[in-house]
Subunit: 113 residues, 2 copies
Amino acid sequence: MKRTDFKNCSCAMQRSMGILGTRWKPIIIYTLRDRKARFGQLDALIENISRKVLTSSLKELEEDGIILREEFKELPPRVEYALTEKGKALIPIMCQLAKWNEEYYEESEPLIL
Amino acid sequence: MKRTDFKNCSCAMQRSMGILGTRWKPIIIYTLRDRKARFGQLDALIENISRKVLTSSLKELEEDGIILREEFKELPPRVEYALTEKGKALIPIMCQLAKWNEEYYEESEPLIL
DNA sequence: TAAAGTAGTTACCTTTGCGTAACTATCAAA
DNA sequence: TTTGATAGTTACGCAAAGGTAACTACTTTA
């Protein structure tokens, strides 16, 4: 089952996963929760992401109406990425997902101090 | 970057994605939001999932403390899957993800009637 | 004796996601 | 003329995710 098939499912959860169901996309959205950011900033803000994954994820998120790409005709060129209304509606959900992990982190992976 | 590396990141969102960042896992959790279910029931309830993906996803979700596998020594054998406390804490988040798609579905994919 | 139901496993294969590194284009400044 | 900055793209390849189909083991029922 391809990504596009997920997006046409009868189940709303499956459709959501067609848009968000990868490792990096929710992290990108979470990073844009309180700021616009340029390509290079996202690359720096998100630990360990590669430019290639960033490129393709941003492109797909734009196709799915989650983020907006704004290109400024300046030199050197500047491009800013920001969440759309549809994307902004995900902010509280993404924040809860991060908070969820903080609450249950110690339980599953005991830290040695 | 492997799944296990995500789970040890310093960013809580990245850790969450180490556990949940696939197409099918959130759908499985969502399906268990209001009921326990047996293997065969999950297979029937979740459209288009394969038994193989179901097997491996259930195994990893159990390792990560999200679901509980309860085996009854009956004949024919019965196994029930249910959310743990850690898994139950995800229910409202998963429901919001489904609701989010319902709200924005028409905007992105106009239906022909 | 054969079929049916439960809960998977196994082998094999394809697709997607992701990583690394080198490369492009543009212009300004040194 | 070379360097630097921005914002990517491209080629190559590996590993993980996912799909298909056949098979196992057990017992009850027909």
